[in-house]
Symmetry: C2
Subunit: 146 residues, 2 copies
């Protein structure tokens, strides 16, 4: 299974440690196409690559992905853009949100029928969430294979 993990880069890197832990957990379920999102070396300036190259490479990965997992606590244009594309393409989308005092998740994400939304406080809680979503997906793929 190919998993596209989306999280804020230029929107802010406050949560990079959570992103790294999420990437580690996702690796139990398949190939994480965007492992660099959890990289401590990756700053809010982003990668040293032309924007059009980043866009086309990432969108290619998203097309190849069986699943989009998006961390949506830090507002990010790129993550929103990818959720818009993935839901349009009929891909399953799991959004992870850590509620914070005085903030509210975007209505376009919270109200999107094509998105499964799970709130969490620590990444430890995500083992169960991934088992529910990605474990079942793995099981289905195995059953459907000859």
């Amino acid at each position: 299974m190919n998993i596209y993990f989306a999280a804020s880069i230029r929107g802010g890197r406050d949560d990079w440690a959570s992103y790294l832990e999420i990437v580690k957990q996702l690796r139990d379920y398949g190939n994480v196409l965007t492992e660099h999102v959890g990289d401590v070396e990756l700053s809010a300036v982003g990668e040293d690559l032309g924007d059009d190259k980043i866009h086309d490479r990432d969108l290619g990965w998203l097309r190849d992905a069986d699943y989009l997992v998006a961390e949506v606590t830090t507002p990010s244009l790129g993550v929103g853009y990818e959720i818009g594309k993935a839901t349009e393409w009929g891909k399953p989308v799991l959004c992870l949100y850590r509620p914070t005092e005085g903030r509210k998740l975007s209505g376009m994400i919270a109200g999107c029928g094509g998105v499964s939304l799970r709130e969490y406080q620590t990444t430890r809680e995500l083992h169960e969430v991934f088992a529910e979503f990605l474990g079942i997906h793995q099981l289905r793929s195995a059953v459907n294979q000859p």
Copy 2:
């Protein structure tokens, strides 16, 4: 012409005065479907309406729009989501960005071939930008009409 104006709501309302001025300028070119985005009364908590209702109403407006104009200075999941949908649907998209020290626009927006990106410092500069993009669009529509 129907214009969908997108800008940050729950991502942060620091720039609401610019949004209001943009809505005022856009009204010269057509019907602005999302005038409330420039409303001073609209806080970062957003509208008092269910998220699924907000999502479905806004996506309906976006489908009806001839043009998406998005202010992308403040990172926003909803704005990114709408740009993702609009580019997928082949709608013309104009993104307005005010460069700020130490920040960089999302690579997914800056590198998206379906987006026309214009940088600005004050909303006064936008008269010319809108005349270029929306004026020509108006002209084309008039020529194509019987």
